[in-house]
Amino acid sequence: MSDETPVKAVQVKLVLLGEAAVGKSSLVLRFCQGDFNENTSPTIGAAFLTQKCRLENRIVKFEIWDTAGQERFHSLAPMYYRNAQAAVVVYDITKAASLEKAKAWVKELQRQANANIVIALVGNKLDLVSESSSTPATVTPAAQETETEGEDGEDDSAEESITPTPATESDDARQVPTAEAEAYAKESGLLFFEASAKTGHNVGEIFTEIAKTIPFDTITPEPATAQTGNRRSAGNHENNNVNLGEGQQAKKGGCC
């Protein structure tokens, strides 16, 4: 809101990878709709969603490919991470094996994907372990700042995310210590977060941080024609913003 001049939206192709049922779809849903749903829509191959995000003086439009986690869909993944500028590799902090799979994804991305791809490692399901046990994931002050700066009041999801999770449950569920994953992330040059799609904790930060890390100078702004190109004569909604195909009306300027 602070900047007055119309800013060009920069498109960022982002892909979500990770073992089945670590909560990839839930993370995206939380980010794009501020919603949590135990029964997310099925992912066949990959689901496609978009979300805009204001960052300092530019608008970043995330085009998110939420891939299927089942092992046999692995060979289809290159189709989705091709040309991606960012990747979120998700694991479940209550399942040690899911981190191993995440590491395999990171390796694959580093070898097969874009050279400049920004990768974030995200341990999901923080709500299943008590707050006290683990140091909360790195939330840089800068990220917080951007978030509060974020334009209009539609960021209920972000608001929610700041509220701490109730520390009622025991920590038995945690199988991946924060320090271990963080060390791995640092060593491999990844952004690192622990988050909860259920509570929304840290979800917005993932995307904000990614947006800040991407070298935007190398990305061409979204062509002007793109906005009008996807209109069809047959009465169709504007879909230059969030549209999950769930029959939900597109939100305006949703931001993190």
Binding site: Q11, K13, A20, A21, E38, N39, T40, S41, P42, T43, I44, G45, A46, F48, T50, E63, W65, A68, Q70, E71, R72, F73, H74, S75, L76, M79, Y80, R82, N83, A97, A104, K107, E108, R111, Q112, P223, T225, A226, G229, N230, R232, A234, G235, N236, H237, N239, N243, G245
Partner: protein, 1042 residues
């Protein structure tokens, strides 16, 4: 990590299988035979087993007609036991698959001379007249085969009565005619009725509005199999979809053309199909059209047994199914309730146990959730089997090769049919698959509103997978202009999404004519798909799949190789390339015929190579490929020179090296030593670490691992027996070395070992270094001594230090452990790069013939022939290749090697290799004849000259073969190229009309005239309807009379 092994055992389907596929007739082997006890759940299709003789099938020209129907069709009648199938000449007007167990009576008709006609009466009295128009002896032979096949089905006929009530159509037809009349009047009324709104009312209407269709008894009276829709309501507005009229038309259709198991497809069938099947009949028609009903008929207990026998079992598949249950068509009411979810769970779980190598694949949850709305669990289960096995082969398998292949086929068809779109997508770097993949995987169920998606499913199950392609192409064509403005994935996806969201809207909302306005986007889609893309036939798909399969298979193999290599936790001291080579050998060993009978046999079916213990599930439930020790022998023979027998044969024509897998205890010792987790199998990781130890070892390390290999109880001592075994291992490695220096060295080693051993052995002499429990050892030693007269052979005897001393005492052995042993492991490329494409190159018309001729057996025969000529000329020689490269450079069998060298000067190595290859790819006939000619020539004194001639001849011939092959390779392209041009020709008459205007189609369904036979033939056929059966003396009369 599980490897895509099944790709290499793929084989094209035989003609018989293809025609069974076309008629949806399951093979005999997938149906239980009389000898199978009913309590045993038959595994999925296996090669035909012993005991049961396969009934012979046969094709014959015939003319078909049905009582009560004017049309008469000429076509091809196929006996595919236990089915009798017919397809009209135009391959679309008339078609049927009749199980022989539904035929109650067959008679030969008494008619004009020269006409051989059979009258078939089905159990419900439908009479089908078949004129066999081939020559009389052929017709008689056919009749005899038919009689045998009919007899074999006598027992199955008894199952018919209990089975039939499961079909809704029986219930429908058993309801009084007066009800049907009532339907007619009310349906007219309903057509005029006000349009009712959305789903809530829809279900209500569906429930009470159709109550009268169920007859006086109402719901629950019939025991037919029903889907969730009967309780939870079917998707869509029953009125808008004109359920009643459709139901009435189907009822009338059944009266004349047979129903359920005996359903004949006459032209009205196609129209009734394309306007959408009525909800209540849909499940039954799905299983009838796809042929899954035959499986359900023949395996009445399988589904229940699968569930009861696997109750409570957990697997990776059941876990994955559980995760997806709640996201399978969650918008449909039944899947918000436990009953719907329980049904869905049971079907998916039962199938995962039925077909464990497929297990469960995401997207199946959507498909099955869709099926269960219209079908019972058992119906859906069998349809799922037909989908996975036949209609969508390889779509849901662990490597999803069918999906990848068909996506490539689809892209190639887009390229040919819609080149502008394809070019644009290439230019903006967008892959069509990002949108089209889910279309194919979920049969469009996940892409468009259910009522429309199910109409596509109707067509897919009736007409096959080509429908998916036709619809996909039509979607792209209709959105063509907008697609040309797409610049990235996101726009493409959004465009497709909004198209599907509005697919029920009018395609021409502003048109003045209300009839035109009434045409929806969906109807337009069907018209475009079936009119403009009717050139996409089953043959097109088959040809494209054949062309692209090898490329896809190679890609999948490379992909899993990369992943497997990347996922190794420890690659030792190898580099990436070396690991790649190890992987290739590992993989090719598994696929090698020597690795076991279950792999890669001629007619292996996809499941076969998954026999234990090659696939194991690890603690985390992941599937892993591992090799057993038999496969390991093959693997090691590819790497270690001493683990194979190499016979080099030279004769006047050629030098060839035959490799065999060697067998020795030493190899098994290595296997067990590398099996770090004592699983009895080795993973790729085990093999890499094992090789790392032996291939990078220096002198001392080599001595150490070789020692440990023979120290079975790992106590740091070899027993006397083990010393002997170790010497035997050495002798095994040295077995092919020329001269006797190695033999001498090993003899000396044994002597020395005993000398030093006696001096240092822990037993007998006082040795401070004994690290073991003395009491126990003495006790067991004493027992051994008393038990065995052979003396203390099983006692600790020689330790590592002593062994090392003994080895170092001999220069030859020292050298062996210092370098030769390490060097005997060689990482050479397997030459399996692009395996599938390399093998495909020899396919095609001519190549296929060659593949038949150049079997291994023929190759061996050819080799023997060549050897024979060589021997006759005195030029035949065989020698064993030594294992240790070091000595092979030096002096081995001097006469032979000079002989060899002389030849090498004639043929450069490259030519030699080429010659060998050519010999493999030539048809045996041509090569042999060439050789025969050459052999006389070689008998001339000037051997040099004749060899040059052979060479030239080979080269010439190979050019010809190459040219021929190239010509063949190009053929499929021509066939496909035609697609682009033929857009305007041959529209299916009548069909699209039915789609364009549904109401009109209904009216026309009664009296439409379709291209049947005219004139004379028709008259004959009509005469036959009234003809009398012949007397019982006639050979084929009264085949079965019950």
């Amino acid at each position: 990590m599980s490897l895509p092994l099944h790709l290499r055992s793929y084989r094209e389907k035989s003609k018989d299988e293809l025609s069974r596929d076309f008629f949806n007739a399951p093979s005999q082997s997938s149906l239980p035979g009389p000898s199978d006890p009913p309590s045993v759940v038959k595994l999925r299709e296996r090669p035909y087993k012993n005991g049961q003789e396969e009934l012979q099938g046969m094709d014959i020209n015939a003319v078909i007609s049905v009582e009560g129907k004017e049309e008469v069709y000429a076509g091809r009648l196929s006996l595919l036991p236990p089915f009798l199938c017919f397809i009209s000449l135009d391959r679309k007007s008339c078609r049927c698959t009749i199980p022989l167990y539904t035929i109650r009576r067959v008679e030969r008709l008494n008619s004009r001379a020269g006409v051989f006609a059979l009258s078939l009466a089905t159990w419900h009295g439908m009479r089908i007249i078949l004129q066999l128009t081939s020559l009389l002896p052929t017709a008689e032979h056919f009749a005899i085969l038919l009689r045998d096949a009919l007899k074999s089905q006598l027992s199955a006929m008894k199952q018919l009565k209990p089975f039939l009530p499961s079909m809704y159509s029986e219930y429908l037809l058993s309801s009084p005619v007066s009800t049907a009349a009532g339907v007619q009047s009310t349906s007219d009324h309903l057509l005029l009725g006000t349009e009712l709104g959305e789903k809530q009312t829809t279900t209500a209407v569906a429930h009470d509005g159709e109550g009268d269709l169920r007859g006086p008894g109402g719901e629950g009276k019939g025991i037919y199999q029903r889907g969730l829709g009967e309780h939870f309501g079917f998707p869509g507005d029953a009125r808008k979809m004109r359920e009643r009229s459709k139901m009435k038309l189907w009822r009338e259709y059944f009266m004349i053309h047979g129903r359920n198991l005996t359903l004949l497809r006459y032209p009205p069938f196609q129209r009734l199909l394309q306007v959408g099947l009525p909800s209540r009949l849909r499940g039954e028609l799905w299983e009838v059209m796809s042929g899954s009903v035959y499986l359900r008929f023949s395996n009445p207990e399988t589904y229940g047994l699968l569930l009861s026998q696997n109750a409570g079992k957990q697997s990776q598949s059941t876990d994955e199914i559980e995760k997806d249950l709640n996201r399978s068509l969650p918008e449909y009411k039944a899947y918000q309730a436990e009953e719907g979810l329980a049904r869905l769970r049971r079907v998916l779980v039962a199938y995962s146990f039925r077909n464990p190598e497929l297990g469960y694949c995401q997207a199946l949850n959507i498909v099955v959730a869709g099926l269960l709305i219209y079908m019972s669990e058992e119906q859906a289960f069998w349809l799922l089997e037909v989908l996975c096995d036949r209609i969508l082969p390889g779509y849901y398998s662990p490597s999803m090769e069918g999906t990848l292949l068909d996506q490539r086929v689809f892209e190639s068809l887009v390229h040919r049919c819609l080149p502008m779109i394809q070019e644009h997508f290439v230019s903006v770097d967008v892959q069509i698959s990002v949108a089209s993949l889910p279309w194919f995987l979920s049969l469009y169920i996940n892409s468009m509103p259910l009522i429309f998606a199910f109409r596509i499913v109707d067509c897919v199950l009736a007409m096959g997978v080509k429908v998916l392609f036709q619809i996909g192409l039509a979607v792209l064509k209709i959105n063509g202009e907008a697609l040309l403005e797409v610049t990235d994935d996101g726009m493409f996806i959004n465009l497709m999404r909004s198209y599907f969201a509005t697919i029920g809207d009018s395609a021409h909302p502003d048109h003045p004519d209300p009839r035109v306005r009434a045409i929806t986007n969906f109807q337009e889609l069907l018209v475009v798909a079936f009119r403009e893309f009717n050139v996409i036939t089953d043959d097109t798909i088959t040809a494209e799949r054949r062309r692209l399969r090898a490329i896809i298979s190679d890609e999948i193999e490379k992909f899993s190789k990369r992943a497997a290599v990347r996922n190794l936790k420890n690659i030792g001291r190898f580099n990436k390339e070396q690991i790649g080579i190890i992987y290739d050998h590992y993989f090719s060993a598994i696929c090698s015929p020597e690795a076991g009978p279950s792999t890669y046999t001629g007619n292996a079916l996809p499941g076969d190579q998954f026999d234990q213990p090659r696939i194991q599930v690890d603690a985390q439930g992941r599937v892993e490929t591992r090799i057993d020790h038999r496969t390991f022998r093959v693997f090691l023979s590819q790497l270690a020179t001493w683990a194979r027998e190499e016979t080099v044969t030279t004769n006047a024509f050629i030098q060839r090296t035959d490799r065999r897998v060697a067998d020795h205890e030493l190899i098994d010792r290595l296997f067990f030593a590398w099996d770090s987790q004592n699983q009895g199998t080795l993973s790729l990781q085990d093999v890499v670490l094992g090789l790392d130890r032996v291939m990078t070892a220096g002198l001392m390390e080599s001595i150490e691992w070789f020692f440990e290999l023979h120290d079975k109880d790992k106590d740091g001592y070899l027993t006397k027996d083990e010393v002997i075994q170790l010497s035997e291992s050495l002798l095994f490695i040295f077995r092919n070395e020329p001269g006797d220096i190695y033999l001498a060295a090993v003899s000396k080693f044994i002597l020395n070992a005993y000398d030093f051993g006696d001096a240092t052995a822990p037993e007998g002499s006082v040795d401070e270094k004994v690290p073991i429990n003395g009491d126990k050892e003495t006790a067991s030693g004493a027992r051994e001594r008393s038990n065995s007269s052979a003396g203390p052979h099983n006692l600790p005897y020689l330790n590592l230090a002593t062994f090392r001393m003994v080895v170092l005492a001999d220069e030859l052995l020292e050298n062996f452990f210092a370098s030769d042993l390490t060097a005997s492991f060689q990482l050479e490329q397997t030459g399996d790069e692009d395996y599938h494409q390399a093998h495909q190159r020899s396919e095609g018309l001519l190549g296929g013939l060659m593949n038949l001729v150049v079997t291994n057996e023929n190759k061996n025969r050819l080799n023997r022939l060549a050897d024979g000529f060589g021997a006759a000329l005195g030029k035949h020689a065989e020698w064993r290749k030594p294992s240790l490269s070091k000595t092979s450079d030096q002096t081995i069998s001097p006469s032979q090697s000079t002989d060899l060298r002389a030849r090498e000067s004639l043929l450069t190595p490259a030519q030699q290799a080429g010659q060998f290859q050519r010999q493999r790819s030539h048809s045996a006939v041509s090569t042999t004849s060439t050789k025969t000619v050459d052999s006389t020539e070689t008998a001339t004194p000037d051997e040099k000259r004749s060899l040059a001639q052979v060479e030239a001849r080979y080269r010439e011939e190979s050019e010809m073969v190459k040219a021929a092959q190239e010509a063949v390779m190009h053929r499929p392209n021509f066939a496909i190229d035609a697609i682009g041009d033929s857009d305007d020709e041959g529209e299916p008459e009548g069909d699209d009309e039915g789609v364009m205007d549904e109401v009109e189609a209904f009216l026309k369904a009664h009296g439409a005239d379709d291209e049947g036979l005219k004139g004379e033939q028709k008259k004959v056929a009509n005469d036959l309807l009234t003809a009398e059966p012949m007397g019982k003396k006639k050979p084929t009369g009264d085949l079965v009379d019950l």
